[in-house]
């Protein structure tokens, strides 16, 4: 469904992505994990069309889209839930959802849009109860639901989710991830960009590890979950520390405290 070839992109004089190759097929969840600043959000923006490519091709359902503006990519079946949710606080939940269908407004009647709102809200009952509320009054978790619901308004074939778990409590994250699996079952291709590597790799069919603008590793979710260096780097599981390691960190700690004392004290 989505194919990225040799993508290079960045801002002004800073190149962030140095040649990314990536693929997402229909009905699969592809995880993109990596540290902060590796380029996940830059990649999401490049895919959406908000950022021009310096080099490379993007194809959606076999069609070349790297020269197309965002609204055309949406018409071709791409949808985004951006990092940080980005709901329009002053509009109601219903109007926010309508905004999601903005790119289709010429092709679809109001009745279709209203029906679509009902369908999408089935997945998110809390939104159904709050259609007339200002989006700014929703909690963080509800806003994340709104962001995903908004993305679903266009019946997308490809869904790009940029850090949906950011700032959410683990139980809520589990709910959202369960929903993502349901969407996969409907045949949507999903690119899930995340820092929460443990949960993401558990549901991903395939995964790419991105580091400083390059793909460092790729494989199936289970493969990567099993690799110990990934595990150490990204999953926060403390490896067995040898006594030398422990002594080192204690040593450093003492030096740290002493140095602080010298800076701030007599």
């Amino acid at each position: 469904m989505l194919q990225l070839t040799a993508i290079e992109a960045g801002y002004r004089d800073l190149t962030v992505l140095h040649g990314i190759d990536l693929e997402v097929r229909a009905g699969e969840i592809v995880a993109l994990i990596g540290p902060n600043g590796a380029g996940k959000t830059t990649l999401a923006r490049a895919i959406a069309g908000l950022l021009p490519l310096r080099r490379g091709q993007i194809s959606l359902a076999g069609q070349s889209v790297e020269h197309l503006p965002p609204w055309m990519r949406i018409r071709l079946g791409m949808a985004h839930a951006p990092e940080g949710r980005q709901v329009v606080a002053g509009l109601t939940v219903a109007d926010n959802l309508r905004l999601g269908a903005h790119a289709l407004r010429r092709r679809r009647q109001e009745s279709w849009i209203s029906a679509r709102i009902a369908v999408v809200c089935e997945l998110f009952p809390p939104l159904l109860e709050r259609l007339d509320h200002a989006a700014g009054n929703l909690s963080g978790g509800q806003q994340q639901m709104l962001a995903i619901a908004r993305a679903l308004m266009t019946e997308p074939k490809l869904l790009v989710l940029d850090e949906p778990s950011l700032g959410l409590a683990p139980a809520l994250v589990a709910d959202i991830f369960r929903l993502i699996e349901r969407l996969r079952a409907q045949g949507i291709a999903i690119l899930l960009s995340e820092q929460n590597a443990r949960m993401t790799l558990a549901i991903a069919d395939r995964a790419y590890v991105i580091e400083t603008g390059n793909i460092a590793l790729q494989g199936s979710g289970r493969e990567l979950l099993g690799r110990s260096d990934i595990v150490e780097r990204y999953l926060g599981i403390v490896a067995d520390s040898t006594s030398a390691n422990r002594r080192n960190s204690e040593d450093r700690h003492v030096r740290f405290v002493r140095a602080l004392a010298k800076i701030f004290d007599a």
Binding site: G37, P82, V88, R233, H253, A259, I263, A266
Partner: protein, 910 residues
């Protein structure tokens, strides 16, 4: 002035006139409000479209001889086209890149450009357009209404109806609202934000053109009427409610009627003053507008658009290298140029003094001041009147002017200090316009439009500065002293505080910086320098007229500052030279001066944002860092030879750093926090965890008194915090960080760090202005400690780099270190690990443990369980606003209630 009361007929007549004028104002206001709604910018160009619409109507109808309807539509089309071109070339591309203050000034530049264009094309003479339906007034219920009035009313109705339909009932209208609030979200949804912005800009131009063309027959058209329309329009919009379209209409009508009544019953001077007084009162007491009920204040997303301006800090050696020959050149200049040129040089230097003041206020402190010339007028007229009419010595007269300006500045900033951004700029504009009308209207005092003549030359004691050369050296000497003093102040903590206020007022406040006091200080400096400049101008010219120190001069000085380079102190000289000397050198282009000024101001924002001097410094300064810095690794610290003042707080594990008892807070229908009590032992790390919406950040905000609790107490080392401001709380030793690292843009890493030490500074701005050794010693010692701390946490190599270019992990570390510089006793960290990868989180954990063992107490809110389990001595769990559990990390991990409510099924393996 009228002595007898008016008859009913006359009253009705005036009322009708007021309504008509009000309708015109409403049309202008509507255009301003529309653009504001969509972009968040007050578009001061609006009046310019009115005057172009009117003047092109004249040309098409009279010069080309076209029939009226054709001329009308052609005029509208031409003006709208001009608006679209200007919008596409300047406004729309600049919108995503510039902060609100700069955008406001960009529109000022566009207005100046249009005024200049009108001047070039149509000259200074007044024009008259014939009324559409003839000159015969129409009798409406016994009142004579000019026939044009009905046309005006008709078009106004069409415009209002059209706008209402568009905004409320179309998808485009909703998309416009989305663009206004969250352009990023809109873009993700496929909304073409740039095109919609241009659309609204063009629509505003269309509205303005119609308004101008339809009102043309009943007024005398002159090239600078654009400013008149704009002023009325923005006053109307402020009165009516900025983003409320019906409010704009109501505001316009109200203003028109009020002005006509005031002019009819008292005088037109009174009418002007009344309008401006109303504006100031509205901005202060009811900023949402007179006709808008309470209502939600527009979520100003633009406040959050913090421009990551990359920082240029030239090496002192480079500055000396350039400044010394320049100074020698300036000293030698009088012997190299002709006499005629000499007087222009003097004017350039005199204006530079006022621009210098503007740089402190705008360049460093970030407060847009559209009324700088008003203070020149105050200083100039006071000194001149006292010297000419009362024989006071010019020196004393100047001092009197300084005193008056200082008083006005302190008053004005005291009443406006609660205003943010655009409102403050409007207040200064209003003040400037008020002074304009006073200098023209108070003929007995100021000599009116013809000005004051016979002003003596400046004199100090018995020495009279009679020749241009003498004035040149006097002004040059003053400038050298001023720059030395200001340079000293700006590189000290005072300068950092001003820049912090420009960068992020909320973060500045959290650092303990007294934001209103610093703003007032900057405003005072700016006003005093402008006053000095005005006085010198009067004594140099031996003549002072209103137009020498009117609002266009304010705009000109802003252009000088921007083109020369904001925040560079000396940049203004380059700008003053460019805009003063060039028109003199090429006399024929004097007619184009206004046009060029406007163009220069607009282009500078887009292509030369650092200005001339800023750009030069970028060339000779340190090379900018473009590659991403690698992961952090702490370096071995080099301990400074002289430690900071001892402030060691002995950690006694038995005392309680913080006690919260029975805290409760309700927001509308939501009980955010209900009966929360906990204690934080001294010298420990306590973590506050809980599901999203549990009330953790609310508890934080209650502790720091960002808003008051409904019930409950907070004690910091036994001292109650009730009733204190966040700044007071910071002063008591409680420092907080924010969820999104509020690292100050436009400042280097070191400067960010040092800003944290604000409350520790003993030697103030005045001492730095005098370059006193004790003050310099304190600054040097502070820098050494800052460097040592940066080295300790591995940020040493980013010392001179713009702090906002650091990776997120580094920024969070910087924020914690900045809080440390304030020597707190208790650190409140709001999600310090959010957005960090695991290596960065480990570094943070190491720092937090070291800080705790050094003797501080830490309370942190976190979602990152591994960090919490790693560092916390005590964990407090909130759920739905209530305390759920409390204990050691191990206890919490095993508590079933906590696991159920919060950690979820996934936390089985940990």
């Amino acid at each position: 002035m009228r002595a007898s009361p008016l008859t009913m007929d006359q009253f009705a007549q005036i009322l009708v006139g007021g309504v008509l004028q009000g309708i015109v104002f409403a049309i202008v206001a509507l255009g301003i409000s529309l653009v504001y709604r969509v972009t968040g910018i007050i578009n001061l160009v609006q009046g310019g479209f009115c005057i172009i619409g009117a003047l092109t109507l004249y040309s098409f109808a009279n010069d080309f001889g076209w029939p009226l309807p054709l001329a009308f539509f052609a005029a509208i089309a031409a003006t709208t086209a001009l608006g679209l071109v200007l919008g596409a070339a300047t406004f729309v591309p600049a919108l995503p890149r510039l902060p609100t203050g700069s955008m406001l000034m960009l529109t000022v530049g566009l207005l100046t450009f249009i005024d200049g264009l009108a001047l070039v094309v149509w000259g200074t003479q007044p024009y008259a357009v014939t009324a559409f339906s003839g000159e015969e007034p129409i009798d409406v219920f016994g009142i004579l209404v000019p026939s044009q009035g009905l046309w005006i009313a008709a078009f106004a109705c069409i415009i209002i109806l059209g706008i209402w339909l568009l905004i409320a009932h179309t998808a485009v209208g909703k998309a416009l609202t989305a663009c206004a609030e969250n352009p990023l979200a809109a873009r993700f949804m496929g909304v073409d934000v740039a095109r919609l912005t241009l659309f609204s800009f063009g629509l505003a131009a269309l509205i303005g053109a119609i308004g101008g063309a339809v009102v043309a027959p009943i007024m005398s058209l002159q090239f600078d009427a654009g400013s008149f329309f704009t002023n009325a329009g923005f006053i109307a919009v402020a009165l009516g409610g900025m983003s409320s379209l019906p409010g704009a209409v109501a505001g316009g009508l109200f203003l028109g009627v009020a002005e006509q009544l005031a002019a009819g019953y008292v005088s037109s001077l009174f009418a002007d003053g009344l309008a401006l007084a109303l504006l100031l009162a509205t901005l202060l007491f009811r900023p949402q507008g007179l006709f808008v009920s309470g209502g939600r204040r527009r979520h100003d997303v633009r406040e959050e658009l913090r421009v990551t301006r990359s920082v240029v800090r030239p090496r002192p050696s480079s500055v000396m290298l350039i400044a010394s020959p320049l100074l020698l050149l300036l000293i030698a200049l009088p012997y190299l140029v002709s006499g005629g040129f000499m007087s222009s040089l003097v004017i350039m230097l005199i204006l530079f003094i006022a621009v210098l003041g503007l740089d402190v206020l705008m360049g460093y402190c970030g407060q847009v001041n559209l009324g700088q010339a008003a203070f020149m007028a105050l200083g100039g007229y006071t000194a001149a009147i006292l010297a000419t009419n009362y024989g006071l010595s010019p020196f004393l007269g100047t001092l009197a002017g300084l005193a008056l300006s200082l008083i006005c500045a302190l008053l004005l900033s005291a009443v406006t200090m609660r205003l943010r951004g655009a409102y403050l700029a409007l207040a200064t504009l209003a003040f400037g316009l008020l002074i304009d009308s006073l200098t023209v209207g108070l003929i007995d005092v100021t000599g009116g439009p013809s000005g004051l003549v016979g002003i003596p030359a400046f004199a100090l004691g018995s020495f009279v500065f009679a020749t241009p050369r003498a004035m040149y050296y006097l002004t040059l000497a003053i400038i050298v002293v001023l720059i030395a003093a200001l340079a000293g102040a700006m590189r000290s903590d005072f300068g950092r505080a001003l820049q912090a206020i420009r960068a992020d007022p909320t973060a500045a406040e959290a650092l303990g910086i007294n934001v209103p006091r610093h703003k007032m200080a900057a405003f005072a400096i700016s006003a005093v320098l402008a006053s000095l400049s005005g006085s010198l101008l009067a004594f140099d010219f031996h003549f002072l007229s209103p137009e020498m120190v009117a609002t266009p001069r304010s705009f000109e000085m802003i252009a000088m500052l921007i083109v020369g380079g904001e925040g560079t102190l000396v940049g203004g000289l380059a700008g003053a030279a460019l805009l003063t000397l060039l028109p003199i050198a090429f006399q024929p282009i004097a007619l184009y001066k206004t046009l060029v000024e406007g163009a220069v101001l607009v282009l500078a924002f887009q292509y030369l944002p650092d200005g001339i001097v800023g750009g030069m410094w970028r060339l000779v300064g340190r090379p900018p860092r473009t590659e991403r810095p690698p992961a952090l690794a702490p370096e071995v610290p080099a301990p400074p030879d002289q430690p900071m003042q001892p402030h060691r707080h002995v950690a006694a594990k038995k005392t309680l750093a913080l006690e919260a008892g029975g805290l409760a807070k309700r927001f509308g229908g939501l009980q955010a926090v209900a009966d929360v009590s906990f204690a934080v032992p001294d010298g420990s790390i306590t973590a506050l965890i809980g599901p999203n919406g549990a009330g953790k950040t609310t508890v934080f905000n209650l502790i720091t008194n960002l808003f008051p609790a409904d019930r409950g107490q907070v004690r910091l080392y036994g001292r109650t915090l009730r009733g204190l401001t966040p700044g007071d709380v910071a002063a008591l030793g409680l420092m907080r960080t924010f969820q999104t690292a509020r690292v100050l843009p436009g400042m280097t890493t070191l400067e960010n760090l040092l800003a944290g030490a604000h409350r520790q500074i003993r030697h103030g701005a005045a001492q730095h202005m005098l370059w006193l050794p004790a003050a310099l010693r304190e600054e040097r010692s502070l820098r050494r400690h800052g460097d040592a701390l940066l080295g300790l946490v591995g940020l040493g190599r980013f010392r001179d780099v713009s702090a906002t270019t650091l990776p997120m992990g580094a920024q969070k570390l910087l924020e914690v270190c900045r809080a440390l510089m304030a020597r707190p006793r208790l650190l409140l960290l709001d999600e310090p690990a959010a957005g960090l990868n695991d290596a960065e989180t480990a570094e943070l954990a190491a720092l937090l443990c070291a800080v705790r063992d050094f003797g501080l107490t830490i309370l942190l809110v976190e979602h990152n369980m591994s960090l919490v389990m790693d560092v916390a001595d005590q964990v407090i769990v909130l759920d739905l606003g209530q305390l759920l559990a409390q204990g050691t990390p191990r206890q919490i991990q095993g508590d079933h209630r906590v696991i159920e409510a919060y950690l979820g099924v996934e936390a089985k393996a940990s």
